[in-house]
Amino acid sequence: MAVEDDEIMREFLIESRENLLGLDRDFVALEQNPRDHALLSRIFRCVHTIKGTSGFLNLPSLEKLTHVGETQLSRLRDGEILLDTQATSALLAMVDGVRRVLASLETLGSEGSEDFSPIIAELAKIGQKQHRASAAPSPATVAAKTPPRVSVPAAPELVAAVVTPPVAAAPSAAPAVASAPSNVPTPSAHPAKVERLPVRQATRPAAPAVAAAPSPGEQDAARAASVAETAIRVDVALLDRVMNLVGELVLARNQILQYGAKSNDPGLVNASQRLNLLTTELQAGVMKTRMQPIGNVWTRFPRVVRDLANVCGKSVHVELEGSGTELDRSIIEAIKDPLMHAVRNAIDHGIESAERRVAAGKPASGRLTFRAYHEGGQVNIEVSDDGGGINTDKVRARAIERGLVAHERALRMNERELLHLIFLPGFSTAESVTHLSGRGVGMDVVKTNIEKIGGTVDISSERGIGTTLKIKIPLTLAIIPALIVASGGERFAIPQVNLLELVRLEGAQSRRGIETLHGTPLYRLRGNLLPLVFLNETLDLPGPGAGVDVINIVVLQADDRQFGLVVDGISDTEEIVVKPLGKELKRLDVFAGATIMGDGRVALILDVLGVARHAGVVSGGRDRGVAEPVAPTSAQAEPREMLLLFRAAGSERMAIPLALVARLEELAPERVERAGGREVVQYRGSILPLIRLDEDRPNGRRALYDPLKVIVYSEHGRSVGLVVDEILDVVDEVVRVEDAAAGRGLRGMAIVQGKVTDLLDVHAAIRRHDPAFFERKEAAA
């Protein structure tokens, strides 16, 4: 008996949770269209079912709460009162209350001790004002209607009867209505009621017929019922287990295929081919069972948007496109929170207040569009608002103010790069911190969470038009296509999504193909410098040995940077089953997991972003995503830049933006004096500290030039002299910065006048010599 009760309770919890999701959505829809009878009926049925079952399961506080809600809903449905914002809020508060009770039932096994009387009081208030104002139904009729309404739930012995009405509400069971008089308005049984509803009759002439002919909503319900007969609920854990087994089967299949390929036995070859096909189909089938429409996440959004918009005093309506787009369960889970962040941001920062919208010639109510669609084996999810767009000037100012990006760099950034600054940790442009967002967590969390599941995030924005956040995610995480490479006697799998192309250099090509710049290996891929990373070195593996004259470069995309991974050998692409690494190895961010190869051995899966970070291609710190992308996606003209070229010990060609240079001076070495442990010269009536760039260079001997060539750099009234070997030239060129060597006091390198040139990071150089330089500047400014 107790077991049965548990079973019933479990069923009740699952069913109610689904119902509640639908309720959120329906209430918001209802608010927009308060006279939608079908919607109201559906909501009513749903609350009624919960109330009925809670009585049956002896859950008094849940029953009490839903009873009051049901009472008001029946008044709404009967057209006695009209739904307004306050009523919706009260009813939604009730839904939340129900949700809390259910949660408590699930975790604690009891209803919990929450006092719902404030919600009940709020519910009771619904329609009171309307009555006084419109007085459409006379007080007498309300009074007349009250007794039967109360009598139903008040009598516990009637509980069994109460449970049936969800069925009774369906038109086919019309006779049952008679036993529960107040629940369904049937014109024949209650002719008086129809008379009492002049308003509804005027607006919806068909209303009296509702009970007789199934409304569209009820037809939906009927259809849903037939779907329920052909669909079953399956435990997710069971699905996961089946999925794991299929993963095993895929591996076993791979092994058999390998033997089959070696064998001459036609029977084995045939059987293995058949096994291959069947496994592929089975895999696809099982994957499908784990697929869920993205709509499952989205159903929450209209409600969330409504609540957030109300808090912000804005009006926003939601459009959902492609709710049926299917995604693997694990991914659906993983994108819930990032999407919620995006929604908060759009409402709080994106969509303007009604007055500002009207002033800008837009409809007063904002629009938030969710769009999902499949594209090239990936799922795209877009969240767009029609708000004010992102003010990139503010973004730039904020990023500089927060110290997220160097001043000079921020000034050179294009729109797209500026937009991407909002993904940096600690960034927030909201003028005031609201309780919705603006705590400086948000977009960077969105980005990290999406990247964690192998997805990418992009943002586009047009001032005054709106902002679109575009998320690309893989369909599934469990089985992925990967390239198998070998290095140092080990095999590694590289996820195909990161793969751009393969380059193979042989013979003389392999000896000349790789250039080094300051110890940094580079390859010219169609004129662009591709930084190279040797997998053997990165992973501390033995090298390929001498006499190998083949170089395999796997060109990979990490973040928005490309790099070439040099491996010993490239074998094949394979579908691999991703398996997690044990906790002991989670710390190693160069591996995304492991897989089992056809021969039964384990191979590690490379985390391309992790490898890039480990090798210094992508910096791991706050600059992530800020640095110049290798290939700007837009076809817009690249910015030309005036550069001062010079030679400083250790580097034949260095450059800094001419904009940063105040003057070029030649000074006699004897003018150099020492003060405060630093070299200084008296310069134009003040003291100019000198920075010897040669000191920055490894193994660099100090230049002993006479006169000293000094680049005077000024910022905010303070100056510093950079001592260099020789001034070479000033050029005006399109500069494409490659970040291969960034971080070693360099901003990167670029091809200037056809030659590879180091770009000096002036700020970093100054800071190394005088860490306080920029602080004093700020104090002075």
């Binding site: 992973l539 501390d540 190895l585 051995r601």
Partner: protein, 151 residues
Amino acid sequence: MNDAQKLCTFTLADLVFGVEVMNVQEVLRFQPMTRVPLASATVRGLINLRGQIVTAIDVRARLGFSTLSDAHEPMNVVLCTKDGVVSLLVDQIGDVLEVEPSTFERPPTTLPAVLRDVVRGVYKLEHGLLLLLDVERVVLLPEHRGVEDAA
């Protein structure tokens, strides 16, 4: 604690260790494994245990003992821990012994710290001493420990 406890025993250098049989999933002879670059020396590699990927921990390295000669292949003691399945590489598998709680003692304080860290206590057997291994501690690699302890 219940009266008699069953321990799966194994040797490592000149020491005899025991782990509770409940923790032991299985015992395997040496398996081919894939080493993990950049991982600590304690992680010997990954083995494929019927489709499950299991980290093999070199207990000798973990305890700072010299490595076993190549001629001698270690055995796998596959354990279920609260963080999943791991395998301990040990020199030799012994019997399953029933031990009396009355013969149990806390580890002597003079035991080297690294050993004391992973040993819950000592059973005084008729012919020698049996160290009770703390499964959760032994799989906790040194580089994690600071974090774990802080948490």
